[in-house]
């Protein structure tokens, strides 16, 4: 089953970054190349998923928003260059640009993830168990996600408070985005679990893994920042970033395959017997 190959995509990306770092030497050029490559691959896959839907389809909006959430950081990195010396980097320090970028990236990504969570309920499906049990399970999972993210949020808020308002507001928006993203990891995984055994488990599961990747990235980045270490910690950060983007891309591919493979499902539809 080709879907089982999809989790290998982020793993292959991670292996490529590590191999390049070991063989060719780690540095800004490698980080830039690996990030931009993963971002653009992710955007391409998300747009491929979006293109599989028709105008007015609910999931078209979900995939378009997710693609935009990955495209903007890619454009930012592309135009800034490996040493942050290209043309946009010269104006990127302007607070309004940071603010706009942070707001748009977080807004698109969160809106996309909310669409994925909302799709389950919009379709008329419901989680098993009573409403109270569902709320407890989801609430508990969100609590775990927030607990994992709490140290990151704490130190990030400290950094924001320590800096000026111009730097603080985009950071604060990023933190707010992280809080929402952490909270969405649990519902996404829960929905993927409900689709267990069906092809839709892959887009939801891989998207949940991507959101979990951002949480992991924040933790790894925080640890490396606090420890003041550079080499291995930076490599770990880059590996997580690449895997996170490629997970989103793999989710896009999975959804596109699920839709294009509907012919297989149709032909497999069993005719009811006369009993």
């Amino acid at each position: 089953m080709r879907y089982r190959l999809l989790p290998l995509l982020p793993l292959a990306g991670a292996a490529a970054v590590v191999a390049a770092a070991v063989l060719g030497g780690a540095g800004p050029r490698l980080w830039w190349t690996s990030e931009v490559s993963a971002q653009l691959a992710s955007v391409a896959c998300c747009l491929a998923a979006a293109a599989a839907f028709g105008r007015g389809d609910y999931m078209l909006r979900a995939w378009t928003l997710t693609a935009l959430g990955n495209l903007l950081p890619a454009l930012n990195r592309l135009t800034a260059g490996p040493d942050a010396s290209w043309w946009l980097a010269r104006i990127a320090g302007r607070p309004w640009l940071d603010l706009a970028l942070s707001t748009l990236v977080n807004g698109f990504s969160i809106a996309g993830a909310l669409y994925f969570v909302g799709a389950f309920w919009r379709s008329g499906l419901s989680l098993p168990g009573s409403r109270g049990r569902q709320a407890a399970v989801i609430g508990g999972a969100i609590g775990v996600a927030l607990l994992l993210g709490a140290p990151v949020l704490y130190f990030s808020v400290q950094d924001v408070l320590g800096g000026g308002l111009a730097e603080g507001i985009p950071e604060a928006i990023g933190i707010l985005g992280d809080v929402v993203a952490f909270s969405l990891v649990a519902p996404l995984f829960r929905i993927a679990l409900e689709f267990r055994g069906g092809v839709l488990q892959w887009p939801w599961g891989l998207l949940a893994a991507s959101n979990l990747g951002w949480l992991t990235y924040d933790v790894v980045a925080l640890v490396s920042r606090r420890a003041g270490s550079a080499g291995p910690a930076r490599l770990a950060c880059e590996v997580v970033v690449v895997m996170t983007y490629l997970c989103a891309g793999a989710a896009g591919l999975a959804h596109r395959w699920a839709i294009s493979g509907s012919g297989e499902a149709r032909s497999a539809a069993p005719a009811p017997s006369a009993g």
């Binding site: 409900e194 689709f195 488990q201 839709i259 539809a269």
Partner: protein, 83 residues
């Protein structure tokens, strides 16, 4: 065409087809839920002639998750299987 008496095979057949997308558990739950909600019948009471109405009720769900084109195609294919 032989008419199906009261059996659960109609719901089972629909659930089996939807399981490709939704997984077996959610497919079964969805069919049971929509049968009760739309037809006012338990899964075991759904007859072959109820299949078109049941499939039409499931159409919005599939349109949300798969898009209009593939969902309509899948529903049409299932309806033909029940003719």
């Amino acid at each position: 065409m032989a008419r199906l008496p009261v059996t659960s095979s109609t719901c089972d057949a629909v659930a089996d087809a939807l399981a490709t997308y939704l997984g077996p558990n959610t497919a079964r739950t969805a069919v049971r839920t929509f049968a009760e909600r739309t037809l006012g019948k338990r899964a075991a009471e759904v007859e072959r002639e109820d299949a078109p109405a049941l499939l039409d009720a499931l159409r919005p769900m599939l349109r949300t998750l798969l898009g209009s084109g593939p969902a309509d195609h899948a529903i049409q294919q299932l309806k033909e299987a029940f003719r």
